[in-house]
């Protein structure tokens, strides 16, 4: 509790005690009305003075119709009617409500901020051979910092010494550790688990991933959702309308009674009007809705899903169509040897010939062959290398003629080859003039890609579509493997945009379309879709810039999680809206006809608000979705 809150608590407690004492005393001993009035004024002013002062200031500044005015009129009115106890009680309860609200909001803010508190507090910098503990802000680019086991990496950089395993859960929500060694780029926010490492920083603290993510999450609640904008507008018109209605309620029925020759019963109607005013306060709505979004974004961030705005969280919950990019999104984007077929000699030997023959080539195929070979390529075993562009390469490996390439190369050399039944890039091998088999190289699906599509269908996605620039048979193979119904292949970047626009035009306004890509080259499509989701590549700046939602660990299974989180959050928002407005309307009607008294009124105000705030916090608990 902060100072203001503590002062308020002290005032409330003293007022409660005084009120109890005075009621007891005046109940036992009879006192004159004036004395009674003065006695009750003490606790009243104790809790009410600030409100009265604010109400007066409000009138002075032409901001007449606000909460303070309401409470002032309601309680002064009750006192004027002789209901001293009620006047004090109403003011007391109002203050209790305000304190509770302030406390609840403060605690929620703290909880959510703590959840996202991934900010490192210090960095161990090597300066002139000594280790200094400094503020991460003070570390220049190119400095060397030391991160020991259990410490958080404070700044993005590259490891220059040591190897270790990193815990990336602060950023991605994943507890699976990642290995890191010399020359690996590491990002801030990760916790160093096992070894001591020295890192040369590549960015300043403010530009490091952890600062960027924190800024993003903080600013995200400034991008207001449609619900929030609606509530703000609603509150602005609502309060004056309610005040005038209350005025009407206080004045019109009595006048009507007078005109029709009955008793006016002003006091009764004024009392009802005051109750009406107390019930009508819109705080519950105005506080709980932003709080729900704040909690939702915080909870999502904790799971490695960065949502850049409350409005995006809202749109996410309405997504019915998901369009995927293929390479880098659903597949790993690296080409690897996935099969060796029809080999006359041993697989390893064939691979060795292939890797050596291709060792002088810079083609990505060469890289994947060398990776699969796994050992040092002894280039001195390779002579007379001839690279025929578009066909392949021939060379003398250990004195033997080796040819590695596509069908064109085989035909050119007059060697009959065997077609590959599987889909991918095929490297035919000829050793010593004879066909020796072929090596299949293909892109691998991401480990959870299939689960991801299944999870999306379970989460209520109507249609999944894949767009890719890759060849038709590869695309259709991948789509079938994943369970994606529609696939469009051999698309140029501009075609992708057009396809998305086509899909957008075919669907209804309420159903939103999400595009999932890897950020860098999908920027136009990401911005065209209703919601752009990018694979964060653990810190890719381009992805974080271009998209509305960033999946920090590149795992497509998080798409379904993101959608489920957004749905939970929006569900809570609507629960609060209906609950708050519903209860208020009922109590307003009850108040107007005189069934509800001041106590019901206070519950309708304070109680509803507290319940709404507690409900809003539920949006934080998304770990097991």
């Amino acid at each position: 509790m902060n100072k203001k809150q503590k002062k308020a608590l002290a005032q409330i407690i003293s007022a409660v005690v005084l009120l109890a004492v005075i009621s007891l005393v005046t109940g036992k001993v009879s006192v004159s009305p004036y004395v009674e009035f003065v006695l009750y004024m003490v606790p009243y002013l104790l809790v009410g003075y600030d409100i009265l002062k604010k109400a007066l200031k409000g009138i002075k500044n032409k901001q007449v119709f606000d909460e303070n005015f309401l409470m002032a009129v309601a309680t002064l009115g009750a006192i004027a009617l002789g209901d001293y106890k009620e006047g004090v009680a109403v003011m007391l309860f109002y203050q209790i409500g305000e304190l509770f609200q302030s406390y609840a909001v403060g605690r929620s803010r703290k909880n959510i901020s703590e959840l996202m508190d991934i900010r490192p507090d210090y960095a161990n910098v090597e300066r002139e051979g000594k280790l200094e503990k400094v503020d991460p802000d003070e570390v220049d680019i190119g400095s060397v910092i030391l991160v020991g086991p259990g410490e958080k990496i404070p700044i993005d950089g590259v490891i220059i010494e040591g190897e270790t395993t990193l815990n990336t859960s602060a950023l991605t929500g994943e507890s699976l550790p990642r290995d890191a060694k010399v020359n690996d780029e590491v990002i801030s926010g990760c916790i160093n688990m096992t070894g001591v490492i020295r890192i040369r920083t590549q960015k300043e603290f403010g530009e490091s991933t952890v600062s960027k993510i924190l800024d993003l999450v903080e600013n995200s609640s400034s991008k207001k959702s449609r619900s929030e904008n609606f509530i703000s507008k609603f509150a602005r018109y609502y309060t004056p309308i309610v005040c005038y209605s209350a005025l009407a309620l206080a004045v019109l029925p009595p006048l009507f009674h007078l005109v029709t020759g009955n008793q006016a019963m002003f006091s009764q109607w004024i009392y009802r009007a005051l109750t009406f005013l107390v019930i009508s306060c819109p705080c519950a709505l105005v506080i709980s809705i932003p709080l729900s979004f704040f909690a939702g974004i915080g909870g999502a961030g904790n799971q490695g899903v960065l949502v850049k705005g409350s409005n995006y969280l809202e749109t996410l919950s309405q997504v019915k169509y998901v369009v995927f990019d293929k390479t880098g999104t659903m597949t790993q984007g690296i080409f690897a040897v996935s099969g060796i077929h029809h080999s006359e000699i041993s697989d390893e030997k064939l691979l060795e010939y292939a890797a050596l023959a291709e060792s002088y080539s810079s083609h990505p195929i060469s890289k994947s062959l060398q990776n699969a070979y796994g050992r040092e390529v002894e280039k001195d075993r390779v002579k007379e290398v001839e690279e025929i562009s578009g066909n392949g390469v021939t060379a003398l490996v250990d004195g033997i003629r080796v040819a590695a390439g596509n069908e064109k190369l085989m035909r050119h050399l007059g060697i009959s080859y065997k077609e590959c039944h599987q889909v991918g890039t095929v490297v035919h091998m000829a050793v010593d003039g004879k066909y020796a088999g072929h090596i299949l190289i293909s892109d691998q699906l991401k480990p959870h890609a299939k689960e991801a599509v299944l999870a999306l269908k379970k989460a209520g996605i109507k249609k999944t579509v894949m767009l890719t620039g890759d060849m038709k048979n590869v695309a259709e193979n991948v789509a079938a493997d994943l369970g994606i119904t529609e696939v469009y292949s051999e698309l140029l970047p501009a075609d992708k945009v057009r396809k998305v626009e086509e899909l957008l035009s075919k669907k209804s306004e309420k159903e939103k379309l999400a595009f999932v890509g890897d950020g860098i080259n999908d920027a136009p499509v990401l911005s065209r879709a209703d919601i752009g989701i990018a694979m964060g590549a653990l810190g890719s700046d381009a992805a974080i810039e271009a998209a509305d939602v960033v999946l920090m660990d590149d795992d497509p299974i998080k798409i379904a999680k993101a959608i489920k989180i957004s749905k939970k959050c929006l569900r809570i928002v609507y629960e609060n809206i209906y609950f708050a407005i519903g209860v208020k309307v009922i109590c307003l009607i009850l108040g107007a006809v005189g069934i509800a008294n001041m106590w019901v009124a206070i519950f309708a105000d304070v109680g509803v608000m507290v319940i709404a705030v507690i409900n809003a916090i539920r949006a934080l608990f998304v770990k097991n979705l």
């Binding site: 409000g58 500044n61 901001q63 909001v105 803010r109 600013n219 400034s222 602005r236 704040f294």
Partner: protein
């Protein structure tokens, strides 16, 4: 030019009123008040002096909600 300021305000309604007041201040192109993070971000009109404009914004905000603070 955009700048963000720390603010202190008690209730969400008041935060809304501050946002309205800020938006209507001369020299302010766009303003958002985030009650959750207690921050106000202001985009200033071309050629206006942020410090001066913020003094006006503070004055206007105090008019609608006496109990607020903007840490300029």
């Amino acid at each position: 030019m955009k700048k963000t300021y720390k603010i202190e305000v008690d209730c969400a309604n008041c935060a809304n009123k501050m946002e309205q007041a800020a938006k209507e201040t001369a020299g302010v192109k766009e303003a958002t008040v985030n009650f959750m993070t207690l921050k106000m971000s202001v985009e200033f009109e071309e050629g206006s002096e942020p410090k001066q404009v913020m003094q006006e914004v503070l004055k206007n905000c105090k008019k609608v909600e006496d109990d607020c603070e903007i840490f300029i």
